[in-house]
Amino acid sequence: MDAVSDPTVETIELEITAALASLREAFLPRFRAAATAQALRDENAKILGKKGELTAILKLLGKAPPEGRKAIGEKVNALKQEVESGFESCLSNLRLREREAELSAPPFDLTLPARVPAQVGHKHPISIVREEVVAVFRQLGFAVFDGPEVEHEGNNFTALGFPPDHPATDMQDSFWTQSNHVLRTHTSNIQVRAMKSIAPPMAFIAPGTVYRRDDDATHSPMFHQIEAFLVDKDVTLAHLKGVLAEFAERLFGPGTPVRLRPSYFPFVEPGAEVDIGCVFCKQPNGTRAGCSLCKHTGFIEVLGCGMIHPVVFENCGIDPEVFSGFALGMGLERLAMLRYGVPNIKLMFDNDPRFLAQF
């Protein structure tokens, strides 16, 4: 349209002024009526958009004579700013209301089962105890020495000083293979292997699987032991007691009493069995009340030990006049059963998922 052909300036001014007045009246209620942010934006677009009402008014300005345009333009712009700020404040009100509504909606059902990020499995209780015992001895300076489960009779029995007809060596107590090897009956074969292959000093632990021909509620034909041994010059029984005390404190807690009773194993002399203060009836003051698990003695037997027998040294080519050493060994099943209160050794090898999940 051509501005020159327009009617009068006054007419256009009036028309614009009236339109602005009516829009000023209407926009806020329209904004406030919007229930959602989208509705509000739509409403805002109807006014300020390309085809919006205020834009239409602005287009009328072109028809106005140049000398009046500035004043009218200012009025239009003023309203535009009012609309914009009205929009912003309505939007922010709306957001507040939405946020309020979101916060006050019914709570999430946190009684639903958890979504576990990744299923975590369980170590076998024997492995837990094994790793702990190994860790304790590693801290004390021992290293691990590996050895086979199928062993020569010499390493398992003869070199350890078992006489040829010792009951442990016969078919009733030990498993023999058709090649006349024995399934090792203890981890003491590692003592022999280490002493035959390495010159002292040595400080080793030997965790592993062992086999004996027993099968009842308290015996499994396969079980696990850990042996520890130290060979050096001037190793004494006092050192053995020192290591045992340290071991007991670290595995069973500070202040755990250790008691040694003389006993007999062919490959140590002197030999002893080791009891520790019962872990089940320990009182807050450190004493033991006595319970059925320790047969009311306050002590439970956990391992056997002793000074390595000179005959073992001789059989392994080490001079017992120069070197001495100690060895100690324990059954891991017993430690695990004591610690976790497992009543029957069979449970350890059924591998029932409901059992394994408890540890």
């Binding site: 293979t177 090649s179 080793f204 034909p221 003389p262 090898f349």
Partner: protein, 819 residues
């Protein structure tokens, strides 16, 4: 070993320690007391009473009303026993309120068939003194005044019995004399061996007969029987033996007759078993000690007829075997009521031979137990003295003059004392081994109290003569242990050694620990499975034939060492399913036992592996349970391998071909099996278990398995090397390709990767779709390819060119069309 506190105190009169103190002291010296049995506890509260009158029960036949004098007062009790003695007889009354432990009852006033009884007349059974419950206990006339307690009237009816768990090196502890010597040493009391030769009836003049006139003894195998001693008593009367009854009963031995009781008591005194023959039943008046002939038969006292082998040592008479030497007698020459002449055998048998015979025949007797551990070769004469003296005291008769001793096959009247060992003890060695100074002034008296004697001594060493009752003392270190035992282990301080650290030898413990850690972190729980299994189970899982076969398995199910971890794991699945646990996700780490390496030490090759079983549903969240499938197995197999091998290793999965399955993985399902490769080396396989294996092992449903060798991971993972983080943005292109659905996605993916060229940083299959708009027989595979250059931002043209090549190449190679 059961030991009587009463008997020990007779042998060590100075002993005043309470039973619990003595038990603790013995335990601390290595003679572990496992329990204390209170024998005849009721004897302390029950009274000896005299029968005053006796009348029938008014209503009930079989019952009587017995009035007894309990020392000043009388009372009437109801009694059902058939053997109430005549007036004046002594019986035992359990008064009101007395607790009888053997029956776990407390005597209360109660009416028996309408008549109130204020107490009970007791049988041995009720008093806990024996198993005789046929009638009440009737005491010897005038053995006590009425009103005294039974314990005071019959001291042997009350005792405390120590149950001692003796280590096998201490045969001397298998008799009360040895224990008494030990106790005297521990408490520093003098120990004097009672003189059994003059005790009892030995003062009685010996018979004019000599034992040599009565019997001839021939030892054919002196190696197995280095010493055979014999003595005889004639004109004896075999009777019941009330005076020895309770002592034996307390020690768990039934009293049989005076002569049989003699053999048991003397054995329990010396720890040296002896045997009594009825001399009139020894045919040919001859005893021959010889080895059995193969197939020879002997019926032992337990009524079992045993077929013998030539390793069995026999005691024979003129006609045949009468006893299994050192183990058990035969029935033919047994002592019986009519025996008039008894021959005692006190012998030394080779411990190993006795052990072999006992084991072979499944016999473990008081006798074999002692001979296996070694009896004292120096006490034969004393044991015979004791047996003869006690026999004369209990059964009358006269000892035949003289003894027969056959020592090392030579007959003699007086045995030569066995050679004694001399050991040198150095005072420095005590300190070197114990870590504490023990002067000779302290050590030597301890050894002397134990029966040793010092034959030479300097300031630094001494020579110690070892008594014959201690066969376990063979080296200097044994003497040191004796000193330590008696001093107490508490006397040694605890001292941490300065350990010169060693390094690991072999890495399996650490490797297993690492594998365990990883397996647990991916959601598997650890099973521990047996090293042995059955050949059948191994065959079912297509494992190599076992090479380690057990000669003496506990059963066919555990007869061979495993060549695969799967049978043990599948046992766990079967166990779980039997208990209605369907979800099993377990692993095990352990050795398999393969053929020995040709150049090795002859032992089987032990290979460390990890095995996994998966069964049941995949763990999920609020969705319909989905069964685990082969892709889960792949996830575990690859996940474990990648973490074991480290980030720099190339882990690949190769589906198994039919041929490979037949040869090495026949346990796996032909459609769902694959191998895992690390840096081109196969380390194991995974897949769905073949339905034949499921059936053979009665597994009742599908199982997924993984088995990997761990050895290639022994070195640990290589240290990862840092790669620069990209500085320029990536461009992503997706492509959906329509291929025949038999085409393996992995092959397409490899082709996409190759075609996309060096700019392709990552290629990932993110969708596989069949059905719907996709024609039957086809699948849509959608890949996302991420392009990036390290030198700068890629232009669209560069990316489009690379991506166009992808479409072209896979189109040519697979006939794939864009979707």
């Amino acid at each position: 070993m059961k030991a009587s506190y009463r008997w020990l105190r007779e042998l060590v009169p100075q002993l005043t320690a309470s039973t619990t103190d003595l038990a603790a002291r013995l335990t601390s010296a290595g003679l572990e007391v496992e329990g204390l049995i209170e024998f005849g506890l009721a004897s302390e509260a029950c009274l000896v009473v005299r029968v005053v009158s006796c009348r029938p029960h008014p209503t009930k036949s079989g019952l009587r009303l017995v009035t007894v004098d309990r020392g000043g007062s009388q009372q009437e009790v109801v009694c059902g026993a058939p053997n109430v003695p005549d007036l004046g007889g002594l019986v035992v009354l359990a008064p009101l309120g007395v607790y009888l432990p053997a029956k776990n009852v407390t005597i209360a006033k109660r009416a028996i068939a309408g008549v109130e009884s204020e107490g009970m007349l007791c049988s041995e059974d009720e008093l806990g003194l024996g198993d005789d419950h046929d009638g009440i206990l009737v005491l010897a006339p005038d053995c006590a005044t009425p009103g005294t307690t039974l314990a005071a009237a019959v001291p042997a009816a009350r005792d405390t019995v120590f149950e001692i768990n003796l280590t096998p090196n201490r045969p001397d502890g298998l008799g009360h004399i040895g224990l008494a010597r030990e106790i005297a040493a521990l408490y520093n009391f003098p120990f004097v061996l009672p003189d059994f030769a003059t005790a009892g009836g030995m003062e009685r003049a010996p018979s004019a007969l000599s034992v040599r006139d009565l019997v001839t003894i021939v030892v054919e195998d002196a190696e197995r029987c280095p010493h055979y001693g014999a003595a005889a008593v004639v004109d004896i009367a075999v009777t019941a033996s009330p005076s020895t009854r309770y002592r034996l009963q307390a020690l768990g031995v039934r009293s049989i007759s005076n002569v049989v009781d003699v053999t048991n008591l003397v054995m329990l005194a010396w720890g040296h078993p002896l045997h009594a023959f009825d001399l009139d039943r020894v045919r040919g008046n001859t005893i021959v000690v010889r080895r059995a002939n193969d197939g020879e038969k002997l019926t032992t006292l337990d009524g079992v007829t045993r077929e013998l082998v030539s390793d069995d040592l026999l005691i024979c008479d003129g006609q045949g075997p009468v006893a299994l030497a050192g183990v058990m007698g035969g029935a033919s020459s047994e002592i019986h009521e009519g025996t008039k002449r008894v021959l005692f055998e006190v012998a030394c048998f080779d411990p190993r031979g006795v052990r072999r015979t006992a084991r072979r025949h499944g016999l473990h007797t008081e006798s074999s137990h002692r001979f296996e551990r070694g009896v004292d070769p120096g006490d034969v004469e004393s044991v015979l003295d004791h047996a003869v003296g006690l026999t004369v005291a209990l059964a009358g008769g006269q000892p035949a003059a003289g003894r027969i001793h056959v020592q090392h096959a030579h007959s003699c009247a007086v045995p030569a004392p066995p050679a004694k060992r001399i050991l040198t003890l150095r005072v420095a060695r005590l300190r070197a081994l114990l870590g504490v100074d023990v002067p000779f002034d302290e050590a030597i008296p301890i050894l002397e109290r134990l029966g040793c004697s010092v034959v030479a001594k300097s300031s630094i060493s001494c020579d110690v003569l070892v008594p014959t009752h201690r066969p376990d003392l063979t080296r200097e270190v044994d003497l040191i242990e004796e000193v330590l035992r008696v001093r107490g282990l508490d006397s040694v301080p605890a001292q941490l050694p300065a350990i010169r650290a060693s390094r690991d030898v072999g890495g399996r413990e650490e490797l297993a620990r690492r594998a365990r850690e990883i397996a647990v972190s991916v959601g598997l729980s650890e099973a521990i499975t047996y090293g042995f299994t059955s050949a059948r189970a191994l065959e079912a899982v297509g494992a190599p034939k076992p090479t380690v076969l057990l000669r003496n398995p506990l059963g066919e199910h555990h007869a061979v060492m495993r060549t695969s971890l799967l049978p043990g794991l599948l046992d766990a699945v079967a166990h779980a399913r039997r208990h209605f646990e369907r979800d099993v996700r377990e692993f095990t780490i352990g050795q398999v036992f393969l053929a020995a390496a040709p150049s090795g030490d002859g032992l089987p090759t032990e290979q460390l592996r990890i095995g996994v079983v998966l069964a049941g549903d995949r763990p999920g969240w609020l969705e319909k349970p989905q069964p685990l499938d082969v892709w889960d197995a792949k996830g575990y197999a690859v996940g474990l391998t990648e973490r074991l091998a480290g980030a720099s290793a190339l882990v690949q999965v190769e589906p198994a071909t039919r041929d490979e399955l037949t040869e090495i993985a026949s346990h796996l399902h032909p459609r769902g099996a694959a191998f895992v490769h690390v840096n081109g080396r196969r380390i194991g396989a995974f897949g769905l278990l073949h339905p034949d294996a499921v059936a053979a092992l009665a597994l009742d449903g599908d199982v997924l398995v993984v088995e990997l060798t761990l050895e290639s991971f022994a070195e640990g993972i290589p240290i990862p090397q840092y790669a620069a983080i990209p500085r320029f943005p990536a461009s992503t292109r997706d492509v959906a390709l329509l291929v025949r659905d038999a085409v393996m996605a992995g092959e397409v993916e490899s082709a996409v990767r190759a075609a996309a060229g060096p700019l392709a940083e990552r290629v990932r299959l993110f969708d596989r779709f069949t059905g719907g708009h996709v024609a039957a027989g086809f699948a849509s595979l959608a890949f996302r390819v991420v392009y990036r250059a390290s030198s700068g931002t890629l232009t669209d043209a560069e990316v489009d060119a690379a991506h166009a090549n992808v479409v072209k190449v896979v189109g040519e190679r697979f006939g794939a069309k864009l979707r």
